[in-house]
Each structure stands twice: as structure tokens, then as C-alpha cells.
């Protein structure tokens, strides 16, 4: 199966903000944040369509999210997951003596995961805390 190495950054989007205030247990939050924004050229390299589920893996964890085309691009080589539990499943927790985990500039590997579902925020965090998922 094809795998692609990318540089991950996380951050806010307005959809993330609205969905967060509307309730993190709701589907809208999963739709807004359980995604990875990729450059169209990177999607082509990986051989996936828009809307394909992908597994994102870093040194610190792994998570399934939906691949979408970046609206704030182009930025080949860079991937973006909105701030939330999906991004935080793979970010670098090291703070290098500043208290601040490294939420931006995380080396990740992306691979298609067509048959794996995107969990909602509550399921994801609960499963991760119990050592599953």
C-alpha cells in the first residue's frame, strides 16, 4: 500500500470553532476536525480521492481521519489537521523545557485506510485512554 511522508501542522479553522461551540459530541465536530487537509498533488501521489479515509501515523500515535483537499493552499508536502483530539493523537508531546507541546512541524506518514471508520471525539479519546484504537 502506498505511504506518503508529510509535515503536519495543526490549528484553528472557523468550522472547528463553530462545531466546537455546538458540542464536541456531535457529528459536526467530527466532520470539522476529523479530517486532514492535503495538497491535491500529495493526494495524487498517495493515489486517493477526496473524502478517502486515511491512517495518519507519527512517532507518537496513530489516528484515522478523512482526507480532504486543502482550501487554504497550495502547500505541497504540508498537511493540516484542525486542532482537536484527532490531531492530538499524533502530535509531538515534547515541550523542550517550555511547557508547550510541539503542535506544528510533526513528521507523519499517511496511508489509505478505506475500510476504517473515523471515530467521534468522545469515542476516540475514551478508546485511546483504555489502550484501544
Amino acid at each position: 500500500m502506498a505511504k506518503l511522508k508529510l509535515n503536519l501542522i495543526t490549528g484553528r479553522t472557523i468550522h472547528q470553532g463553530v462545531a466546537m461551540e455546538g458540542g464536541k459530541e456531535k457529528d459536526a465536530y467530527t466532520k470539522a476536525c476529523g479530517i486532514i487537509e492535503m495538497d491535491p498533488s500529495d493526494m495524487k501521489k498517495l493515489g486517493i480521492w477526496k473524502g478517502t479515509n486515511v491512517r495518519v501515523t507519527s512517532e507518537w500515535g496513530s489516528v484515522v481521519v478523512k482526507a480532504v483537499e486543502a482550501t487554504q493552499g497550495p502547500h505541497p508536502g504540508l498537511a493540516f489537521i484542525p486542532m482537536g483530539p484527532w490531531a492530538n493523537a499524533v502530535v509531538n508531546p515534547k515541550t523542550y523545557s517550555t511547557g508547550m507541546p510541539t503542535f506544528k512541524g510533526v513528521p507523519i506518514e499517511v496511508e489509505p485506510a478505506i475500510n476504517e471508520p473515523v471515530l467521534n471525539s468522545i469515542q476516540l479519546v475514551q478508546k485511546k485512554c483504555r489502550g484501544e484504537a
Partner: protein, 439 residues
């Protein structure tokens, strides 16, 4: 008949818009519509009315389900947990009022807790840099009336602070900026072509994590010293042009966000950005300001500052205030397993901390005080719902430029739901009893 409440403060982001109008039903119980707010702010007001809102505290059962308990039981559990813990973490504080923060800190001092706010995953590194080199700043009013050079560095206000540009930084007509955005030059530095970058006059698509180099390059260009051909992916000519634009303004401002605080180099990026601001003051008037996220994260820093001398990551476990980010900050404490209870209020570490820290919270005795259902409430042993500050209860908040603004109450909270201040006051009183030797 419905009535309109005017001049309402929006309790979402650090811009703290103060011109919201909320239409409420005649009995003052229901919010019908919200005017002037951004999409996120409006959602916050409207969500307060959600029919599935949790209105009573819930205790997690061994099988993972939740059982409703009374506020008395919730106060008892919280007080006992904090009393028994050797080193509890009291985290959050950014989505509640300064009054609640003040009572919370009183509790923290009594039980020897570590108090930390959301700056720890947001502008904590900024606060470190500010303590290292100081900060030349101003108010948002001065930006609106005077600033003609606006730099957004590593921030995306179109998405994170949706009304910032229209109220203060780009579009408004001010006293000396009476042509609005045509009076201003906007520079955006971001590794992505963000929606903010799309409306800028100049976009510097910096290589991710190379902000320090680009900041240094601007400082070199200001001094007319030689530069390499390309720095951080930006050609030399573009850097020199940018430096000229900055120099030629009458009043400039650098707004910066997570792009510099969360990328590697962290506080050093901000040191350098502040030094660039200082350099620019050789030529013209320049300021710098952090784009604060939560509406009262600035207030939490202020209250901690008055009471203990430090703006976040304050460790009171030895009976006096210690501050050493990297040691006394939430994520480091959690990952190293150094705290034995977690109290969360006005924030959601379950969604916004790296999963390794969240796993640790799930293992410990934990209380989450939050009106919403969040990943944190769903892994905490006790969830205490409270009234929304800024919607259902008034309270003092600080805007991102350190200006205090009193948030207003718009509607009544659901019957029987306590406010943050009431809940913390009751926990504080119960702790006094426990410490006096009562049961």
C-alpha cells in the same frame, strides 16, 4: 414580545467584541437570535439553549456510564479529592471570569496545587519571551486609529478571531486611518496560503518552522547588511521589500499566533519577533501583540500575576509560588506522572492536550467543571455543569490587549445550575471545614 439586549460582550475569543446584540424572549429565558457576532460567537450563545444540555453533576461509574448526583455530592467529592491529593493540578481558567479564578487560586493555595491555564498550550512561550525581553505593546483602539502597517505572523484571524480584522486591525476607519484598509498595508507570514494571506498585500510563504530565520533576515535587511539569496524559502528581494514596507509606515503592529509559539524554537521565535519590533522603532513607531485565543486567558494570566507573580504554570505545592515552564507546566507534570489529582475548569484538555497527557488524566481522580459535554468530561470521574460566563452570568474578562471588560448576563441559567463562582465558593468552604479537622 421579544426584547433586544445591546452591548453584549462575546465570550469566545480574545477579541472580546463588545457590540453583540442578543434577542431574548420576553420572560428573559430564551435566546432567539444573535446579531453582529461571528459564526463561532453566535453558536456559543445559541448552544447555551441546547435541549440536551447537562443540568446536574454526573459521576462516572465503574462500567463507564454516568450517574446523576447532587451539587452537594459534587462539592464533597471535589473538596475531598483536593484535600487528599499531595499535588493536584488545577488547570483551565480561561473560559471563566476573573472572580472565579481568584477563588480557585485561594483553593489552590490551601491544598498546595499547581495552577496552570490554557496559555500552556497556546501563548505560554510568548509569556516566557516577554519575561526575557519585555514587550512594546499598545491597545486595539490604538491599532484601529493609528496603525498603517499590519503584520500577521503565524496567525489566521479569518478563522480564529473572525471579527478582529473588521473591528480593529484591517478594515475599520480610525481617527488617523480614515480610509480604512486602503490606508493600511497588510503583511502575512504563514506556511499556508491562508484566508488571511489571501487578503494581504504581501504574503510570505515561509517554510514551516523557519520563522526564526526569516525574522533574523528582516532584522538584517533593516540594517542594510548582506543577505543570502534565499532565507526560509523567501527570495532576498522580497525580504528587502518587506523591510522597506515596515520601515515606511507611521505606526506598525505585529500580531502573532500559534505559528511561532508552537513550532520548534518556540519562545526564541518570539524573542526575535520582539527584537524585530524594537529594531523597527529606530525608524518608526512599532508594537507587537499576541493573538490570545480564549476570551479570558489574558485575565487568568493577570489574576495569577497579581496573586503569585507568574502568569501560568504556578506550583504552590511547597507553600510558596514556584514557576518553571517545562517542570511546573501541565503537560510535563502529566507525562511524568507527577500529579495525583486533576481539577479542570473552563477548558478542555481532553480535546486539546496531546493524547499522552489525556491518558494520564483518565487514570487519576478528576473533576471537570464545564457547561458542555467534552472529551474531558467524558474521561473525568466527575462532571459538574455550570452556567455559561458571559451568557448566563456576568464577570470580568481581559481582552487580548490586557484591557479588562465586564461580560454581561443575557439570560438566566437553567434552574438549579450553579455558576463557577458559586461552585468554587462552596468547595472552598468545605475545604475550610476539612482542614479545621471536621469530617
Amino acid at each position: 414580545m421579544s426584547k433586544v439586549v445591546t452591548d453584549v460582550i462575546c465570550p469566545f475569543c480574545g477579541t472580546l467584541c463588545d457590540d453583540i446584540e442578543v434577542v431574548v424572549s420576553d420572560d428573559g429565558k430564551k435566546i432567539e437570535d444573535v446579531y453582529n457576532a461571528c459564526a463561532i460567537g453566535a453558536e456559543k450563545f445559541l448552544h447555551a439553549q441546547a435541549p440536551d444540555r447537562v443540568k446536574r453533576p454526573r459521576m462516572q461509574q465503574p462500567d463507564g456510564s454516568y450517574k446523576e448526583v447532587s451539587y452537594d455530592e459534587a462539592v464533597e467529592y471535589t473538596a475531598q479529592m483536593l484535600y487528599k491529593a499531595k499535588k493536584p493540578l488545577m488547570y483551565g481558567w480561561s473560559s471563566t471570569s476573573c472572580e472565579a479564578q481568584s477563588i480557585g487560586h485561594e483553593i489552590a493555595e490551601k491544598v498546595g496545587a499547581v495552577v496552570d491555564n490554557t496559555a500552556t498550550v497556546c501563548h505560554g512561550t510568548t509569556l516566557i519571551a516577554v519575561q526575557d525581553v519585555g514587550i512594546p505593546s499598545c491597545t486595539l483602539g490604538e491599532i484601529k486609529n493609528r496603525a498603517d502597517r499590519i503584520i500577521f505572523w503565524g496567525c489566521n484571524p479569518c478563522h480564529a478571531h473572525p471579527r478582529h480584522q473588521s473591528r480593529y486591525s484591517v478594515f475599520p476607519r480610525g481617527f488617523f486611518t480614515n480610509k480604512g484598509h486602503t490606508n493600511r498595508k497588510v503583511i502575512v507570514v504563514d506556511p499556508r496560503v491562508t484566508d488571511t494571506a489571501k487578503l494581504a498585500d504581501y504574503h510570505y510563504q515561509v517554510e514551516q518552522g523557519r520563522d526564526y530565520e526569516l525574522l533574523s533576515a528582516f532584522r538584517v535587511a533593516l540594517r542594510n547588511e548582506p543577505l543570502p539569496e534565499v532565507v526560509a524559502g523567501i527570495p532576498r528581494e522580497k525580504i528587502i521589500e518587506g523591510a522597506e514596507v515596515m520601515k515606511s509606515g507611521r505606526f506598525g503592529i505585529i500580531f502573532f499566533g500559534m505559528g511561532v509559539t508552537q513550532s520548534l524554537s518556540k519562545n526564541h521565535n518570539i524573542d526575535n519577533a520582539i527584537s524585530l519590533t524594537k529594531d523597527l522603532n529606530e525608524f518608526t513607531k512599532f508594537s507587537i501583540m499576541a493573538m490570545r485565543g480564549h476570551y479570558n486567558v489574558t485575565g487568568s494570566g493577570q489574576v495569577l500575576g497579581w496573586q503569585f507573580g507568574f502568569p501560568f504554570s504556578v506550583d504552590l505545592s511547597r507553600g510558596f509560588a514556584r514557576y518553571n515552564p517545562g517542570e511546573t507546566s501541565s503537560n510535563d507534570l502529566l507525562v511524568r506522572g507527577e500529579v495525583d489529582a486533576v481539577f479542570v475548569i473552563g477548558s478542555d484538555p481532553g480535546a486539546h492536550f496531546p493524547i499522552s497527557s489525556v491518558k494520564q488524566i483518565a487514570k487519576l481522580p478528576s473533576v471537570c467543571v464545564d457547561p458542555h459535554i467534552t472529551p474531558t468530561t467524558e474521561i473525568s470521574k466527575l462532571h459538574v455543569p455550570v452556567a455559561f460566563v458571559g451568557v448566563e452570568v456576568a464577570g470580568n474578562c481581559y481582552r487580548m490587549d490586557n484591557v479588562p471588560i465586564e461580560a454581561r448576563k443575557v439570560v438566566d441559567p437553567p434552574e438549579g445550575v450553579l455558576t463557577d463562582v458559586e461552585f468554587l465558593t462552596r468547595v472552598n468552604a468545605r475545604l475550610d471545614e476539612l482542614m479545621a479537622g471536621g469530617k
